[in-house]
Symmetry: C2
Subunit: 108 residues, 2 copies
């Protein structure tokens, strides 16, 4: 299921980069909002360490997930679609083979 | 400089416990306030990971510092006085030897 960089046209690369950045922006915005809200309700140390654990998990997850390498990009997109950070139609411009792979993977 | 539990009278133990808990309460309250304030100003991911790093350091520091064992308690009190979480006069009731050790250590 890996797709080497040579199999991406310039147009596809542009579509991919735009979609990737958009999903990233959405997820980060949502995360920042969630943390500001969660932090405003902190009343004790247990809440505080919950926030710390949450940030540790998110940091690990986000740094691992947003890896822009063509070989694994269809997997990344499928995950982002599954999680709701990206809509399939934002990948229009990729060839049908890639689109159907993302769609199939996102339903797994 | 270690002081075994046998060297603490019941009255001293009560004074020590009260002072220890008071300092803990003050430091935690200040920390919670600081985090709520810092979190409310978060605008990007860099701010967020700064908060995460800050919480990691604080968690490590607090869990290490508030260790209620008589053998090391004078060191703990000296640190708390130095950092401003405890006032020397809140240790009144300890014998003069212990008080002067805490005072001396807190100036180091």
């Amino acid at each position: 299921m890996q797709v080497s960089e040579a199999e991406w046209t310039d147009v596809e690369k542009k579509v991919a980069r735009t979609a990737f950045d958009k999903a990233y922006e959405r997820e980060i915005e949502a995360l920042l909002k969630q943390v500001r809200e969660q932090a405003s309700t902190i009343v004790d140390l247990s809440n505080l360490w919950q926030l710390h654990d949450f940030l540790s998990a998110k940091r690990y997850g986000i740094e691992g997930k947003y890896d822009y390498q063509y070989a694994g990009l269809l997997f990344v997109f499928a995950g982002l679609v599954k999680e709701g950070w990206l809509h399939l139609n934002e990948l229009e411009g990729l060839d049908k083979g890639k689109l159907s792979k993302v769609a199939a993977l996102s339903r797994m």
